[in-house]
């Protein structure tokens, strides 16, 4: 399909860019609808209840209905809020998510922007998420939001480091900073996950990914029972929807990124490459949800101690290990 339309659009580079941007942005908005529905069903399954049932078959349209409701809600800005930051924080969160989707290869040729430093780019733009959370927490003029924001920054920055180190291990091992390059290497040499240093890297990545997308046991920034709703306490309507959408789109992205780094991306027998990508992503998302609905939440000091005393040293050693084995 892409082969049929691409030559036409490629005559008009600006139009082509525009088309890709629109497709990506809508994809980033649509994917959360699916992921949230899956989340609700999985949570229901784990908690021995049914989950959404009534809107659409098996409740599939429940999230659409929720999104429409949020769209129609009044846009409330709390008195005393720092308006400028309060307004733009959700969009920064969402934009950072859309930007990271830009370099994600879904199948051979299915990538919005072929970038030879894609891994670096992803790490860079995902940090904007931290900025948006801090902005939201600080500008809301709410103490719960502030605490949530502070926790989020401490946590996300701490877990960014071992995560980057484990991603670097893959980069050294495969000798490529481009996601397509990494996947093509795996198509030739087998999935990275089967190689010892990358196995450890994948484990660290998985733990950090849980922390990066704020899921139990790392869901402190919005710890409902303590901080009401954390950094997004004061948000409602569409702005809240953007935070919510970006969180679930991030959930999708962080697993898709893992699929590309560790599980060979689109690589797989029989089924078409696109199906393989989505299959891997949803299996990983299921595991994330499984974790989310099982253990309790850690405390901020325990979380930071775990990151700095265990994950960082281990990932550093692992990086050395990967370099020693990988560099040709």
């Amino acid at each position: 399909m892409i082969g049929a339309v691409a030559p036409f659009f490629q005559q008009y580079p600006l139009l082509w860019t525009f088309v890709k941007a629109v497709v990506l942005a809508s994809f980033t908005l649509v994917i959360p609808l699916a992921v949230i529905w899956v989340e609700r069903k999985v949570a229901g399954f784990i908690q021995s209840r049914l989950g959404p049932l009534h809107v659409g078959p098996q409740g599939t349209l429940q999230t659409v209905a929720d999104a429409l409701k949020l769209l129609l809600k009044e846009d409330i800005v709390p008195a005393g809020a720092d308006k400028r930051f309060f307004y733009i924080a959700p969009y920064i969160a969402f934009i950072s998510t859309v930007l990271s989707f830009m370099v994600l290869p879904f199948a051979p040729g299915w990538v919005a922007l072929e970038m030879n430093v894609a891994v670096l780019f992803v790490i860079g733009v995902s940090l904007f998420n931290v900025v948006s959370i801090l902005m939201a927490g600080w500008s809301s003029n709410n103490k719960y939001s502030l605490l949530g924001g502070l926790r989020a920054v401490a946590q996300l920055l701490s877990y960014e480091i071992p995560m980057v180190l484990s991603v670097l291990a893959v980069v050294f091992y495969t000798g490529s900073l481009s996601l397509t390059g990494i996947i093509e290497y795996q198509v030739k040499h087998g999935w990275n996950i089967w190689h010892p240093p990358i196995m450890i890297a994948a484990l660290i990545y998985f733990i950090c990914a849980l922390a990066e997308i704020n899921r139990t046991p790392f869901d402190l920034p919005e710890a409902e029972s303590e901080l009401v709703s954390g950094f997004n306490t004061e948000y409602s309507g569409m702005r809240f929807a953007f935070f919510f959408a970006s969180e679930f789109a991030n959930n999708f992205f962080i697993t898709a990124f893992a699929a590309a780094l560790f599980f060979g991306g689109w690589d797989g027998p029989v089924l078409p490459p696109m199906v393989w990508t989505f299959l891997k992503v949803f299996v990983m998302i299921f595991v994330f949800m499984w974790v989310r609905w099982t253990p309790p939440r850690l405390r901020i000091d325990q979380i930071l101690r775990f990151a700095w005393q265990l994950l960082v040293p281990v990932s550093l050693l692992n990086l050395l290990f990967a370099i020693a084995l990988g560099v040709k």
Partner: protein
Amino acid sequence: MPVSPEKPSTLSTVEILSQGMVINVGPQHPSTHGVLRLILTLDGEQILQCEPVIGYLHRGLEKMMERRPYRHNIPFTDRLDYLAALSNNLGICQCIERLGGVEVPERAKYIRVLLMELQRIASHLVFLGTFGTDLGATTMFLYAFREREMVLDLLEECTGARLTYNWIRVGGVPDDLPEGFGEKVLAFVKLFRERIEEYDQLLTRNRIFRSRTQGIGVLPKEMALAYGVSGPVLRASGVAYDIRKVDPYEVYDRVEFEVPVFDRGDVWARYLVRMEELRQSLRIIEQVLRDMPDGPVQTKLPKIFKPPAGIAYSRVESPRGELSFMMVSDGSPNPVRVHIRAPSFVNLSVLPRLLEGAKVADLVAILGSIDVVLGEIDR
């Protein structure tokens, strides 16, 4: 930016650094378990000071009771500790029985104990579920409430109500157990034993759960005694004090059960005490159903009940601790004075001491482990 007087000022860095941030938790907050308000002074995530504010649910129950005939007061007690309404019913009925010298038939005593222990299970399951949610383990909530629903179904079959039962009467219970009730209870007991094992897998053996509860909110034995706390909170601090053992009422002296005691005094110990009490309650239920004699369930009393002048005091072990009623009679149909010693009220008084130096995240764990019900704190 100049701040106009009517506009709330934004937080300044100076304010946060200098005297600590004052944060108001409740009365509307997901984890204060009712309308409890806590004024916290924070230094970052550290709690410097905690000031509980109560009274949002005050109804003047004790005064209302003085204006009504004795037996009209039983429904009021349903609204005290609304998670253990039957315990409150029993407390006031025992007090009135002592005041009037009313004898209770044997079978009624057994039925009372059976209902008490079912009620204890239901109440501890609410603790378990909400405690899990407080710590972020939301699944525990649904598991605990799934089983609580079974208990409520049983109690509904017997009493006709699910929350405010109003089923203990002066001189017995209003009616006998329904047909086949014992078998249903035993089926539940069998199922619930397996479910407790499931809770252990989900929470008790979870590393994260342990690290969130062990060594948190330690209540030393001396402090516990000095504050007069009771119930599971006291037993978790190493004091083997259970009214069912030290001052047995109904038929508790005829059943075998153990009183779980732990020395640690932390949140973890309070959790373990309640988990063990669930198992002991099952034991009691089985014995009571085995030994229950046939016979009448209520003593006949005059239409207008006038106990002789005097003072009566009764105490029962409610799921939250020592629940006492004191009533003064001058021979008229109405009590002259009623006093209720609510275990939650006394247990809550120790909260500010436990919170000194704790983290914000520990607040919900500690408050949850004390397991207060605001209905009986505010009366």
